[in-house]
């Protein structure tokens, strides 16, 4: 049994439309990079984070399938699903597998292949995170749910949509420096507001697009990690918390309680406060979700997130560098892979390998990954090991 779990290898594919690559090829590509970095050939267990392969790719049993694809028949392997937090939920299970002493080296990969389907099928598959017989049935979409949150937030806190969307603008600015990003170019607030409405008031450039992608990590106990590499990154906390699935049956529609619960537990486990965090990744299916995340993670008071974002305090060189390689909006959001991308990117930051997007002296990183509208939150806190 191990006291700490470390990341010793990371890898990912570009996020985008990979017409020529199947689900299994994407997984293979990201995983081989992570294994090569870790200099490991075989692992004891594989965890696959994926949301929609049954619906979009007509394939289940991804644990065994990916073990086979990786040439590792025999190993322990399962798929973990928690809607679009599937990737981070898979990391959480991998973390416990090592903590329990049942596995010494684990590969975790998040993978999603959405561009095989028509956009309306993708919207439909996305809505399976919500209550099928009630919320889905109204005909609403994820963007629509975010639109109602945005409207309520604007009303309660006197915010304007043009302020809130600065979250998306920050994502795009950061993605411009990330070769793996789906949309590696900057945009302006005006461009967001001029883009077509998707679910009023939400505009196209304030939403995520269907994407393919895979990201992978190799984990092992810290004692082993120190032998394997010079720059292990330690998982100081891995916490998953849930909340009511229907956002309109929670105590407050504008509070992500699962994020609050997971974050508080994670800060306590890691022995830090929000002030100690150097770099943050949050789950912004639209800007409003990014704003709520910053509030509920304790970085800024409830109702002040929009101002914090509009004032540029989440920029790379500012107080709280957030979504430093593009976030869900611009790195892209291949559902079950997204939570793993966040941890790959934080690892780059903590190792000092983020190139032009490097946050100076980054020691502690936090990732918040969400399933649906906050029914699941997974919080990971990573620390550079010295």
């Amino acid at each position: 049994m191990s006291s700490k779990v470390a990341i010793v290898g990371v890898g990912c594919t570009k996020v985008g439309e990979h017409w020529d690559k199947s689900l299994r090829q994407l997984f293979l590509e990201a995983s081989l990079k992570a294994l090569e970095e870790a200099d490991v050939d075989r692992v004891d267990a594989i965890y696959v984070g994926n949301m929609a392969s049954a619906t979009i790719n007509f394939q289940q049993h991804l644990g065994a399938l990916m073990a086979d694809v990786m040439g590792m028949r025999g190993v322990d392997a399962v798929r973990v699903e928690a809607a679009d937090a599937s990737g981070s939920a898979a990391v959480h299970q991998a973390y416990m597998a090592i903590k329990s002493g049942q596995a010494q080296t684990v590969l975790v990969g998040g993978v999603e292949k959405l561009t095989d389907a028509r956009p309306a099928d993708v919207e439909y598959a996305a809505m399976m995170s919500e209550r099928s017989e009630y919320v889905v049935y109204s005909g609403i979409t994820i963007a629509g749910l975010n639109a109602i949150q945005t409207q309520l937030y604007m009303d309660r806190f006197n915010a304007r949509y043009e302020d809130i969307v600065n979250f998306a603008v920050n994502d795009h600015r950061n993605a411009a420096g990330n070769p793996y990003a789906q949309f590696p170019f900057p945009i302006t607030v005006e461009r967001v507001l001029e883009s077509p409405p998707v679910a009023d008031p939400i505009r196209l450039f304030d939403t995520t697009a269907p994407a393919d992608g895979a990201a992978a990590l190799v984990l092992c106990p810290l004692e082993t990690a120190k032998k394997l590499c010079d720059t292990p990154v330690v998982i100081e906390a891995s916490v998953l918390a849930t909340d009511g699935v229907n956002p309109y049956e929670r105590d407050d529609v504008l509070t992500l309680t699962s994020t609050r619960v997971a974050a508080e537990r994670a800060y306590r486990t890691a022995g830090i406060t929000p002030r100690d965090v150097d770099v943050v990744e949050v789950h912004n299916t639209s800007s409003i979700m990014g704003v709520l995340a910053l509030e509920d993670l304790g970085f800024v008071e409830k109702g002040q997130g929009w101002r914090f974002v509009a004032e540029g305090q989440i920029a790379l060189n500012a107080d709280l560098p957030t979504n430093t390689l593009g976030g869900l909006k611009a790195r892209g959001h291949p559902w079950g892979a997204t939570g793993v991308y966040q941890l790959v990117e934080l690892t780059w930051q903590l190792r000092g390998e983020a190139g032009g997007n490097q946050v100076d002296g980054a020691e502690i990183g936090l990732a918040q990954s969400v399933g649906g509208l906050g029914a699941t939150t997974v919080v990971h806190i990573l620390r550079r090991w010295h």
Partner: protein, 142 residues
């Protein structure tokens, strides 16, 4: 949805049945059997209020599969008279006319058709309440 699944949900969709916690008073729709607010298992079925007001809304312009024929359509968050929040389509109302505060009432409509199974699903949507002006009502006796 499949035929048995549609049939199973009829009371909750056709009669707006929810459940109410006898311990803390919270209302749930869809029905909960254990209260997620206080943990009580003492819940009873209760019909929700059929009228309420619009709290916030959106216009869906990129719908999911099954809803393409209806676009653009309005989906609103409605506060019912009993305090329950519910999400539903707003019908019989132009996009230009919808606004928070609008008084609404439940109505039963076609929701979607499953091309494959041929099942047509019905359920609640909400429409503006037409306030009769009794003063101006034509009097057939006169």
């Amino acid at each position: 949805m499949s035929a048995p699944a549609v049939r199973r949900e009829i009371p909750y969709r056709y009669r707006l049945m929810g459940t109410k916690c006898l311990n803390c008073g919270a209302l749930f729709h869809p029905p909960q059997r254990i209260c997620p607010k206080c943990g009580s298992k003492d819940l009873v079925e209760e019909e929700l209020a059929w009228r309420g007001r619009l709290v916030a809304y959106t216009v869906i312009r990129r719908p999911p599969k099954g809803y393409e024929d209806y676009k653009p359509y309005i989906v609103g968050l409605i506060e019912l008279k009993d305090g329950k929040l519910i999400l539903a389509q707003i019908v019989d109302c132009d996009i230009e006319e919808v606004r928070p505060g609008l008084k609404l009432e439940a109505t039963f409509r076609r929701i979607r058709e499953d091309g494959k199974s041929g099942i047509i699903e019905y359920g609640y949507k909400f429409r503006p309440v037409i306030e009769w002006n009794w003063q101006k009502k034509p009097n057939p006796e006169k």
